[in-house]
Symmetry: C2
Subunit: 437 residues, 2 copies
């Protein structure tokens, strides 16, 4: 008689017991029985790695191998699902590649990893017949990846766009409601834990660009070259701009945009003026919201906490549950909504070809003829003006002049701005905010 083969592994291993890793362990501990009732089998956390594994995290990890060596978790004979919560694109990438190559499924919240290496990792997962899941990488606890890949699978997606960075949204909400300047609100956000010690990734739009790349890849079934996405952060916005926006009936949000543009795709991240009645205009503070527009369903919106230990863990554990269920049924690829997707490369629309509305703020000399000369240049570039506002004088000799344009081509606007600056009637560069919706 030949010996019975050992049962296939079904355990879960976590890499990184930081905020989200600890949250994940806590959700598994607190709601494990409930989830087991729902899916028909238990979720077993069998191993976890962290640089400081013995710190008291307020969650019982006594039945779980704790190690400082993440490879031991990846290689653990009973680990079938590797949960990567280390972050970054170096060690995390090596470990994810190691796991997928060993036939283990991966759940991750790592947007940078997916934005930089999503295509390679998706192919590697497919080649090894395992699942790669990343619900927590965009929108924290909001099940937006599932909505896009499964809930709206019957749709040709026309556009996905939204507020996907809570730090920026907190800052912009505070600037708009209190009138405080950017630097002061950023300092307050850091104090409250809403901004990292080095906030560059958030405030310069890089984090939002990672998410835009992930959403665009799923929406349009195409690889996306992260480096080619036009990205602008919020650090150049002054409260005078959020104030002008309000007077004009708009709010300013950092929006990640991915739209179909004929055979190409229009993907970009920048501060965006939205009409105050827009779905996203009321998304305030650290919350996230994403609009998905499909050809059959029309516009849908998904809103919730975009960050935080427990919301993010909610998404991580949902992925774990789906992978574990598929494992228990012997078909782990069933848990990967991208396993079968046919990918076709679509080019990015160059920023010069984007057409949208523009908010232009100039500091102009307070003398006759200036508006006429500036508007003349805009007209000569086929840029038509929707509204003009001039504030009271705010510093010696110059006043802010705000022009809201109708839809115009970015290339034309840029050319016009160069020409306007050469007129010698403005001071410094114009502040440009694109207007959508």
């Amino acid at each position: 008689m030949s010996p019975t083969p050992p049962p296939p592994p079904t355990g879960i291993g976590i890499l990184g017991l930081g905020t989200i890793g600890t949250g994940t362990a806590r959700v598994l501990a607190d709601n494990g029985a409930l989830i087991a009732d729902r899916i028909g089998h238990p979720l077993r956390l069998v191993a976890a790695a962290d640089l400081d594994p013995d710190r008291d995290r307020g969650v019982d990890l006594s039945s779980c191998l704790l190690t400082t060596h993440p490879e031991r978790v990846v290689d653990h004979s009973d680990v079938a699902v590797v949960v990567e919560l280390i972050g970054g694109t170096t060690l995390a990438r090596d470990l994810v590649v190691r796991a997928l190559s060993a036939g283990k499924s991966v759940v991750t919240a790592n947007k940078a990893l997916l934005a930089h290496h999503g295509d390679e990792l998706t192919r590697l997962a497919a080649a090894n017949g395992v699942a790669l899941r990343f619900e927590a990488a965009v929108g924290g606890g909001i099940p937006i990846i599932k909505a896009l890949t499964k809930g709206l699978i019957a749709n040709r997606i026309e556009a996905v766009y939204g507020i996907v960075n809570g730090t920026c949204n907190y800052i912009l909400t505070e600037m708009a409601t209190t009138g405080a300047p950017f630097e002061r609100v950023l300092a307050e956000a850091s104090r409250l834990g809403y901004a990292e010690a080095d906030p560059t990734f958030d405030i310069e739009g890089i984090d939002a660009a990672h998410k835009a790349a992930i959403l665009a890849r799923l929406a349009f079934d195409t690889p996306v070259d992260l480096a080619a996405i036009p990205v602008e952060g919020i650090s150049k916005l002054a409260s005078i701009d959020t104030d002008f926006a309000r007077r004009l009936g708009y709010v300013v949000k950092l929006v990640a945009i991915a739209k179909r543009a004929g055979p190409r795709i229009d993907v970009r991240v920048h501060p965006t003026m939205l009409p105050e009645g827009h779905l996203l205009a009321k998304v305030d503070g650290v919350f996230n919201a994403v609009v998905v527009k499909g050809d059959a369903v029309g516009e849908t919106l998904y809103y919730g906490a975009g960050a935080g230990a427990m919301p993010t863990a909610s998404a991580v554990v949902a992925d774990i549950a789906e992978v574990a269920t598929a494992l228990a049924r012997g078909d782990v690829r069933a848990a990967d909504p991208c396993a079968h997707r046919v990918v076709e490369r679509r080019e990015l629309l160059p920023l010069e070809e984007v057409e949208t509305g523009y908010y232009l703020r100039f500091e102009v000399q307070d003398r006759p003829g200036v508006l006429s000369r500036i508007s003349g240049v805009l007209g000569s570039h086929q840029i038509s003006i929707a509204q003009v506002r001039q504030h009271g004088r705010d510093r010696e000799g110059t006043v802010p002049l705000v022009i809201l344009t109708h839809r115009a081509r970015e290339g034309s606007v840029r050319a016009a701005l160069v020409e306007i600056e050469s007129l010698g009637v403005t001071e410094g560069a114009a502040v440009v905010v694109r207007v959508e919706g």
Copy 2:
């Protein structure tokens, strides 16, 4: 050599080529190739039944068996997924039972069927090892069922509530923005096709109650007795109430509510005053939105078109795609998020025990002492007053008196209202609107 067994059936059969059935056929025709690219195999519509099968629906059904006999579709040897879009709870129920009993999976948009017979049909699906899917039954195209059962599977759900009837929301939005009376707005809604010829199901809250029953069953893993759900529609609301609400900083929405209440559940449908800053307050017109609050994720919201041929078809086809994918992998129950759920009966909280805020509008005699006597009665029932408003006189001898209470027990409010009516200072019954959020 024994002959190769025939391949298992994988075809789709549609029962009912009305608005949603035709929309479903259209989405399968228009986006079939795209969906096939995503899931790795085609979706084949092989049969459809309708009383008028030959009518030109603007969609090519030439490769599909068209019949007036729905049983032929259910019994068709190549139909593995039966899509029930007939509606109602008689013929539709018989056909769904017939399909499930024959080992065929069912996709339906029929909220009445699920609200009345959801438990029985879920058990029948499980007993036959097939899937029963109903994404389109709540919130039209919004993938709320998937969000609740899969996206938020890691959460103990605390509450699900939302605007789930587009007809009522259209009427309330119009009443609030134009001040027009209920009857006139209802007539306009009928003219625009937003209300049925017999609008009773919608305006009396019955349709919303069906959806509340479905959501509560999924959120709390319990059978729900539809007949025991307290339901109030919007037909008693006057525009004076939507107007008072606005002045008080609220909007009135018909809200379907399902909350955890200790070991019991609090499920109800009624006009509800929400603060104007509430997530649901800006959901206007025929749109739907549902808030799901989970212990880990916090509050999330899902918004989109709650009705209409194409949005509803988007949800129907998403279900079809998931069932067909599971079929192709040989495990159709993988497509049923409820297949394994352990169900435990939870009692409904009786309405008398509900605690919430109350908007009370009395028509009172315009003479001294009336407010004192009414507020005295409220006080004697431990009901504390948050705000009082009195409008100008609107008819001979009486004026409207509006009292907004703090949270109070419904039973106490009802007892107080009986006592107030017996004072002889009011005319007619008080208008009562519950206040949430």
